[in-house]
Symmetry: C2
Subunit: 423 residues, 2 copies
């Protein structure tokens, strides 16, 4: 068995040009269809490969997985087998879907049992997230926020170029694309000289992020180096870090964001493996001042992932309000994971770590309404003639992402979320 | 069946005067002994009631629990039955242990199977913690920190008297009493004008806290009121929120503590139910300025829990370095939980929420080395003649807590942790 999927490979399952899910991708997710219980699936074109069926029909023999790894509400049990086993599983699926392989494609009855239309399936949250960490790794985003709220001449705080700054977030409120988000209520202090008030958030915002999902790490007290980090990362998804700016402003000093963030975070349903993203790796920015040795890394650890955000008012049409790229990150995943564990903090299978808002150098690359409307001073004009400083009830926010090189496109699908009014 | 345990009740299991675990307590934990797999237990005197055996012998029939609730590595499955069911279970155990009840005590063979010596058992982490939140609810602690690091004349930040300030912590590194903690390494910036350095933490500290464990909450988007909060709290334990002050100082602006805290938090093994603590409830402080309506509460929601911290140098004898009380909290658990969910944030069975450092009004009540040594300016003198500004390798920190009224003592046991040198 080869260890990578060739760019010239094609599947006997038809894949439209422009699909996010060619045979070079093969992302993992959890789905259900008909009356059947949840199970693990792999996307190919507009189909899903039912891994429970594949296993039950004997196609995954000689791998280390068992039936309950696939007859499962989450990917965690499958992922608990680790990097090499999951890589082997994906390559076996590639083999079975390869046009040049007759094992499965020649058995029409089996094919019928194993392939499910994505349109007939309901996707579920793919991972039971243990701990969720949010980083703050886009220099442009940190600079924009610092410019708006602190000092334009010293926009970056002193630690920012030395530390991949991050904080712990709430795992219980991570939800799937398609689930609406209710506008949160909370304390705000609109007037400096008056007491705080309680009510629905008035400055509701999205944050365009990507997240990675981890395998089991090392025992408590040990660290993962930047070099080892790839072995502990299963894959990535799109991540919308919903933010209530008015709640955040009043609560966040000195211990960081809390209720401004923990009402919801939305993710896309397919976890694209790090292996599928490997060919889209690129060099990162020069890091000056030089980082401490535990944050040094070798090779290309940034990834060229094209990102966009669409905003659709209730009953209206979509407006693309941001175009960014994951390559703009200052700190890469390897550095984030090395930093997170350098003090001995342990990570577990199914932990999720988000990038922080991914903003690029130009205003059209900004990854939040806060930045796009520059704190509400430059409202966005939408196609229907309305304006937005922040998000309104009934708005739907969609984030999409994909990698592209020559004819090969490896995509993430989307995370789409409608905003409901406060209770 | 009565709904509370009478203070005049006594058990046929002998309980020493001064024991933390009389029949009025009956806390839950996870233990193993001999070659047997982990299971749920309830402490009584210096014994443990093996709930799996109790169930298997038919003593827990007519309750809603099943065998796997007790044959379990964690209390979560048992707790997932909710407040009323867990209350019924505890009262049934009380009934069986009551001196006036012959059901169990008259069957010597069963008694022999069901009672295990605590000295023969190994306690395990009682709860699989989903999300962990740390509050900052002691006015004295927040004032001390503000006085030391900011402005003595404005020690409390503007939001502190309006918000039970809290932040998300790391669940994966919550460990049990008895497990050592390794001194973390990380970035520090000892000199203002020089770049940060990397190395072992030099200012390692404990924080004396208590934590509560939750039942399943409401769906995402709904809130728990201060009045409802009791129904969502299973019980409490002692909590040591290990802190690396030098790492914290450099990393925590603007998103809060991260590596300074997430290398470990230590808890005591027994979860004392809220029911057992009910008779020790007392009024809280007057809250001025008046809190927002969602934070108002009725009745006595604070609890009189006497706390102490012991420090034992390697090979030396114990020094009691702090005596505090949970009653010093400004914000109570009901307010903390109402605040945490007011934005619709969901809580799950097994979430853990810690109080924040519990300091009292006098220097001997301070709940951290930072405060006890006043930022290192007033070293503590120990019995062996040595001094401590912060913790040293080989030191063991023990926290103990108990409630006492007349002859009734309901205690938490202890959380004891030795500090190992950095790797």
């Amino acid at each position: 068995m080869s260890t990578t999927i060739s760019n010239s490979a094609q599947s006997w399952v038809s894949v439209d040009k422009g699909s996010d899910f060619p045979i070079q991708n093969l992302p993992f997710g959890i789905f259900k269809y008909g009356e059947k219980p949840p199970r693990v699936g792999v996307a190919i074109g507009d189909k899903i490969v039912d891994l429970l069926q594949l296993y039950s029909l004997g196609y995954l023999n000689n791998l280390s997985f068992s039936k309950t790894d696939f007859a499962n509400m989450y990917l965690n049990d499958m992922m608990s087998h680790g990097k090499e086993a999951c890589r082997g599983l994906r390559l076996r699926i590639y083999e079975l879907l390869n046009k040049d392989n007759n094992e499965l494609q020649s058995n029409a009855n089996h094919v019928n049992n194993i392939l499910v239309n994505q349109s007939d399936a309901t996707m579920l949250l793919p991972v039971q997230v243990g701990d969720y960490t949010d980083f703050y790794s886009s220099r442009e985003h940190a600079t924009n926020v610092g410019t708006m709220f602190r000092d334009p001449d010293n926009a970056l705080l002193p630690n920012w170029l030395h530390i991949p700054v991050g904080y712990h977030g709430r795992a219980s409120s991570i939800i799937l694309s398609g689930e609406p988000v209710r506008r949160p209520k909370g304390q705000q202090k609109p007037n400096e000289d008056e007491p705080p008030v309680f009510g629905p958030c008035k400055l509701l915002d999205f944050e365009l992020e990507m997240a990675f999902v981890t395998f089991n790490g090392k025992p408590l007290g040990e660290s993962i180096s930047t070099k080892e980090a790839d072995d502990y990362i299963f894959g990535m998804c799109l991540f919308n870090d919903w933010s209530a700016r008015d709640i955040q402003k009043w609560e966040y000093v000195p211990l960081g964001p809390f209720l401004a963030k923990n009402f919801a975070s939305s993710i896309s349903p397919w976890i694209v493996t790090l292996d599928a993203l490997d060919q889209f790796r690129i060099p990162g920015p020069t890091q000056e001042p030089k980082v401490l040795p535990y944050l040094e890394y070798e090779g290309n650890k940034h990834i060229d992932i094209k990102l966009e955000v669409g905003l659709t008012p209730e009953g209206g049409e979509e407006n693309i309000i941001s175009k960014s790229n994951y390559k703009h990150m200052y700190w890469n995943m390897n550095q984030q994971l090395a930093h997170h564990t350098v003090n001995g903090c342990n990570i577990k299978c199914g932990d999720m770590m988000a990038s922080g808002t991914i903003s690029g150098p130009n205003p059209e690359n900004y990854g939040s309404m806060l930045e796009l409307s520059w704190k509400g001073t430059k409202p966005l004009k939408l196609k229907d003639g309305s304006e937005r400083k922040f998000l309104q009830d009934g708005d739907t926010v969609v984030m999409r992402g994909y990698c592209q090189k020559d004819d090969i496109r490896v995509g993430f699908g989307q995370v789409s979320t409608k905003i409901l009014p406060a209770n």
